[in-house]
Amino acid sequence: MAERSFAREVEDLRLGDGDTFRGEGILAITKALLQSGVAYVGGYQGSPISHLMDVLADAKDVLDDLGVVFQSSANEAAAAAMLSASVMYPLRGAVAWKSTVGTNVASDALANLASGGVTGGTMIIVGEDYGEGSSIMQERTHAFAMKSQMWLLDPRPDHECIVNLIEKGFELSEFSNTPVMLEVRVRACHMHGSFACKDNVKPAHTIKDALNNPKRDVNRIVLPPAAYEHEQEKIKTRMPAAVGFIRDNKLNEWMGPKQGKVGIIMQGGMYNNVIRALQYLGLSDAYGNTQVPLYVMNVTYPVIDAEVAEFCVGKDAVLIVEEGQPEYLEQAINTVLRRKDLNARVHGKDVLPMGGDYTAQVLLGGVREFLEKTEPRLLGNRPPAPDAAPVLNHPAIEKLRQVVPARPPGLCTGCPERPIFAAMKLVEEELGQHHVSADIGCHLFSILPPFNIGATTMGFGLGPASTSAFNVKADKRSIAVMGDGGFWHNGLTSGIGNAVFNKHDGVFVIVDNYYTSATGGQDILSSRALNKRRNTNNSIVQAVKGIGGQWVRQLDRTYDVGKMRDTLKEALTTKEAGPKVIVASSECMLNKQRRVKPQISKAIKDGARIVKERFGVDEDVCTGDHACIRLSGCPSLSVKQLDDPLRDDPVAAIDNSCVGCGNCGEVAEAAVLCPSFYRADVIHNPTGWDKFRSKVAMAVIGWLQRRRDRRRPALEALA
């Protein structure tokens, strides 16, 4: 897949009994799936689970040996629907995606799957993209688990615990005929740790076996009256079975002393930070030896009433540590206690914030307040807890707050999407501002400086659909932007098909960079590379025309800013009716560099004639207005202060990370900015002719230069 190799990571998947795995959490999960005897795996990439998909895509040999089927799903709904293979057959299967966005897309298929129930163990790995560093809306997967009744595992952030829970999770799924979700937060996915490996397990029943021996049972299909039966089954059979399994196998954990006046109940994922908070309060050592009784819910749905009651009996109060809103667990535990008439007071969101990360610092405050209210003796004489407030209130640091600039993410150096948005800025200067619907993908960075383009983003591939309401005759047309990733995820039908069918008059820009770049550069249908295991090179333009698009323009070099601008202008002004579709294609520069850089280095080493391009700015020609930067934002295009008393403002400068894409020159030319940009072509291993030509030219040029220099006034007198 793509241009990056995961060969080293694939080796980790081969580890067996007696080996120790050391590495990233998401890789540990991948290994755990193989140890659990999965027959098939699928999913849709996206942080923080992209790595799982990438490694499996490169692990053909390992998977073939085991007889495991791997599919890159078109989107999360497709991945969820894939799990239907476990409905009739005793096949273990797993899918993975970024949540909650992926779970939103998948929820129709998930609801159907959960209703009919499963025969083989099914597991949905969700990368819970919540908290600092997240790129999506802040919601919880918990709600999906509850509404469709799927069990939700939330293991302690520890490789050993996660791997164990995956293996147990498949058993739980089979025992209770219910799909299981495993929730891992971003940092846990990227966490380095270790666990003792087991051998991989070949699936007992394979996909091939299933295909050769088809089965059907109408009672497992969501149709009346079976659907009504499913609901009763969920309540009367599957839930009790799951509760029994979770208790018997001790999936939830008790830590610390058996007795105590107070205790803490937490999601498994919160465990490490709770221990750190207790440590700050002098109530635990670094190895988890706690003085406060803890009940760690590695399974957060269903809540095991009997376990909760057992933990709360004889306690004055318990604290629920549950990240995010609403407080589902707190409500559930209150219900349990009231029903059983237990009088332990329940604290939770009253001492902890309703939303946001539960960092050790936040938990320190919450636990301290909880203990002050309920059992202050535990706090003893309060050892000094870490506190940055005194230093943060210092005037020197207050001053710094005004100075440190924001560093919003932006497009990479040489990104082929930059000239598209530069062209849109130029059109904006001519034709005024337009309503622009943005989409998920790298191109979403156009909403940030310096472009400041884009009004809304509604979901992956939904940029075009977001303009559907703007289908009226007006002085201006709407513009929608979507990437090739979004196009194949659903945008072809929800966006382009929709616009064709409704005779939408707007402009639709499809940014085609040959990969789903934002998620790590995975191949898709229209990727240009040859991929032995997948069918690539399927044209977006043909797809658009096939679905009825009439006005379609293909630009095969986005860096041609002038042409891009003219095409956009034409699309916005043409009298032709129906959607105006522009497909702007150039390869993702990150992937291109990964591919091309080693090739070029090798060619130069081998003595081949190679022209390397880089851009530069003539510092004495540049006047320091920075209009070029306002139309570009390239990381390699920066500023520098000249050592010249006559100059106030820094001039533009291009650093050596420049990849020579040409955008700055094209923009300077198209926007009629200034003549300070130049492209420097360096010929490595020049031919004799190259050398001769250059020598002759430089001889004449040198003579001319010396001639003029002789006539200049001797400025040395002023040096």
């Binding site: 966490m191 190895y287 320190l364 932006g410 198209a670 003549p675 492209r679 420097a680 020049p686 200049r712």
Partner: protein, 520 residues
């Protein structure tokens, strides 16, 4: 806090006060923060410690800032420590910042505290987009970071780790690893750090060299006072020219100026003569002389001749306007080519060509024509349009191909025609009006006169950019006119100029003008 609780003894919970060593790495995409993190983890694991690292890499990839976080600690009787996934403000042992403003950001996050944190930071700058897009100087004040470091860090190790890495053919992560080893905050030997680097295949040799250089630099404490290395100026061969008697005469005239203005006037004179000729330098000093007279009668002697100082600077800039002749001249100079060769580190046997991105319009051509003819043409819009369609398009100019070089060379040599050109007439008229306004103001409100001179900073660029700058300049001077009689006119003039330099389209400037109109 309740009294009863204070008196209680703190019950010990084993080694409750012992915490893991915590290290936060703040970096931007492409700085190798991930590699450095892996190295530190490996280092700790090689000593039998339990190490855990976390990060959110997705954001860093595309120029955003991110934090890598590591905790490490030896196991106790086979029990693994429970390690946290995020740094806690006030509880970080080492912060490593791969850029100076990021060091500042880590301080703002509370990661650097005087009781425990060793701050290892590179003091080179990688400018944020907000600093780059201002039409003026938007670069953040590095002094604020230095000041904060002094307050926040227990130990500071600050030098240009990036330059050191480049010098040794490697990346900053290797330099930071060396600085960490040199700082001695982890109980591991130098050799065990090197073992970790050597175990990696790629670029191990360059990394080792960089590591050792950074290690030595920290050990010998040769940092903190070292400013970031300035780029080396390319070597320029001195031109073989004879001293010029006329020019020497002008240099002598510099002595007539008051001391505070001579340095600037010297630079200004050089720029003006270089732009045109020695006579033009005489014109510059003449104009400067009459401005000095106005300065003196306005009591400039008591104000260290601020008016003359500003005039020396901005008059030179005004007189050396950017025209086609100047651009062609600069692009064809020998010094220009040697500068590029230096920047590219061109080696023997490589061939260099450059391509210019030029977009001449009829306006530029007209500017070069004799003033009368230019005006005649300007009055004929249809002819002008027809000509513009022939001229106005982007041109890729291969500088060092003979035909293109000759063309540029010829244009660059047309300075003899410059004084008669339409552009020169326009620029001179504009300049004189500006100087008149400044001279008029300086008599009644000294600082306002200085401010008006400084407004010339708004005029810059070519083509569209130039017209935008010019319109900002005109708007600013018109607005100053509205309030010139107020005592705080100079303050407003400064505010106007600063606003004009804040954003491209001039929205901030329009805002200030609107404010002025409410009371003027």
């Amino acid at each position: 806090m309740r009294d009863e609780t204070v008196r209680l003894a703190l019950p010990a919970a084993g080694d409750a006060t012992e915490r893991p060593i915590s290290i936060a790495i703040v970096a931007m995409g492409g700085q190798g923060g991930g590699v450095l993190t892996d190295w530190i983890v490996q280092l700790a694991e090689n000593h039998g410690w339990v190490a855990q690292s976390t990060s959110v890499p997705g954001v860093a990839q595309r120029t955003g800032a991110t934090i890598y976080y590591i905790e490490a600690m030896p196991p106790l009787d086979g029990r693994k420590p429970i390690l946290s996934l995020m740094p806690t403000p006030g509880d970080v042992d080492v912060v490593m910042a791969a850029e100076f403003m990021e060091a500042g950001r880590s301080i703002l996050r509370g990661l650097v505290t005087p009781d425990r944190t060793t701050l290892i930071a590179s003091n080179h700058r990688s400018f944020a987009i907000g600093e780059k897009i201002a039409p003026g100087n938007g670069i953040a004040d590095r002094g604020a970071v230095s000041g904060a470091i002094g307050v926040a860090a227990k130990t500071e190790i600050i030098f240009d780790l990036n330059a050191l890495a480049i010098q040794h053919g490697s990346v900053i992560s290797a330099a930071m690893f060396g600085a960490l080893a040199g700082a001695g905050v982890l109980p591991f030997s130098r050799e065990s750090y090197l073992d970790v680097i050597r175990a990696g295949e790629k670029g191990a040799k360059a990394s080792v060299g960089t590591f050792e250089a950074a290690f030595d630099r920290v050990q010998t404490k040769s940092f903190n006072d070292v400013a970031p290395a300035a780029a080396k100026p390319a070597k320029i061969a001195p031109s073989p020219v004879m001293p010029d008697a006329d020019l020497n005469g002008l240099v002598a005239r510099l002595k007539d100026l008051p001391e505070p203005a001579t340095a600037m006037a010297r630079a200004g004179l050089k720029k003006v003569v270089d732009f045109q000729d020695v006579a033009y330098g005489g014109e510059y000093l003449g104009l400067l002389g009459s401005l000095l007279a106005a300065d003196r009668s306005a009591g400039g002697a008591g104000k260290s001749f601020a008016f003359t100082q500003a005039a020396a600077k901005y008059l030179a800039n005004a007189m050396t306007y950017d025209d086609v002749i100047r651009v062609a001249d600069l692009k064809t100079r020998a010094s220009r080519r040697s500068r590029i060769e230096g920047e590219l580190e061109l080696s023997q046997g490589q061939v260099l060509q450059t391509t210019e991105f030029m977009h001449p319009r009829m306006e530029e051509v007209m500017g070069m024509l004799p003033a009368g003819f230019g005006r005649w043409l300007g009055a004929r819009p249809r002819l002008l349009g027809w000509l513009d369609r022939r001229v106005n398009r982007g041109r890729r100019v291969k500088t060092y191909s003979l035909p293109w070089f000759l063309a540029l060379y010829v244009v660059g040599g047309m300075r003899g025609m410059r004084r008669r050109s339409l552009r020169h007439a326009v620029e001179t008229a504009h300049r004189d009006a500006w100087l008149k306004a400044a001279t008029a103001a300086v008599g009644t409100n000294y600082q306002l006169g200085v401010e008006i001179l400084q407004c010339h900073r708004l005029v810059k660029g070519y083509s569209d950019t130039h017209s935008r700058g010019l319109s900002k300049f005109d708007k600013t001077l018109a607005a100053i006119k509205l309030i010139e009689r107020r005592d705080d006119a100079a303050d407003w003039a400064r505010r106007l100029r600063e606003a004009a330099l804040k954003d491209g389209p001039g929205k901030e400037l329009d805002g200030v003008i609107l404010t002025i109109k409410t009371f003027a």
